[in-house]
């Protein structure tokens, strides 16, 4: 059975790695969840972000971080819904519910 992979993104420099790993994991049949926190939420403004939301099984961000780095919480990034403007509990879900874990 294909494994699942959770990715915790806290650096604003790693979008190419997030995309590369997610595409490779999906090609192998893995379930992929990505959670962006702190300055990682700046990556919601990259052109690749909506595509990531299409490819991955679950994408969410820390709404508190998004606000703290200067974005308007009412301005929901393309690809996300209000429900995916979430909390650190999503990081907990990656650790508890996914087979493999990466920090990018």
């Amino acid at each position: 059975m294909a494994k699942s992979l959770g990715i915790f993104v806290t650096s604003p420099r790693n979008m190419r790695h997030v995309m590369g790993v997610t595409k490779a994991a999906k090609a192998k049949g893995c379930k992929v969840k990505v959670f962006f926190s702190w300055k990682g939420t700046e990556l919601t403004k990259t052109p690749e972000f909506p595509e990531l939301c299409n490819i991955a099984d679950d994408v969410s961000i820390c709404a508190d971080s998004y606000k703290k780095v200067g974005f308007d919480p009412a301005d929901i990034p393309e690809g996300l819904t209000d429900k995916e403007m979430a909390t650190q509990a999503q990081h907990g879900a990656i650790i508890e519910d996914y087979d493999c874990y990466m920090t990018l």
Binding site: S11, R13, W38, Q88
Partner: protein, 101 residues
């Protein structure tokens, strides 16, 4: 069994938020630890002090290899070698954020 997680915080712009993220897992019933490495923290405001107090209340701990952090904020002192040994006991290791320039 609860997971043991260690956040390693090396960048001054990421350390305080790392404590918040560490607390986020503590409230998810994980043993959550944070280590401020090679960066001296500014004077902490009440919000950040409370985050650290909560981590401790939830059976976690905050460490640093910077003596000033331990003296000013009461962090537990930890050398790189001691951190390495501690990491061997962790289920999840989180090198948080990025290295400073």
């Amino acid at each position: 069994m609860s997971n043991k997680v260690c956040f390693m915080l090396v960048h001054p712009d990421y350390t305080l938020d790392g404590f918040r993220s560490c607390l986020g897992l503590a409230v998810e019933n994980m043993y959550s630890y944070a280590v401020a490495l090679n960066n001296e923290l500014p004077a902490l405001d009440d919000y950040n002090k409370e985050n650290i107090d909560w981590i401790r209340d939830m059976e976690g701990e905050v460490y640093s290899n910077v003596p000033a952090n331990c003296e000013k904020e009461g962090f537990e002192p930890l050398t790189i070698e001691e951190l390495g040994q501690k990491l061997r006991d962790m289920d999840v290791i989180v090198p948080y954020g990025m290295m400073p320039e």
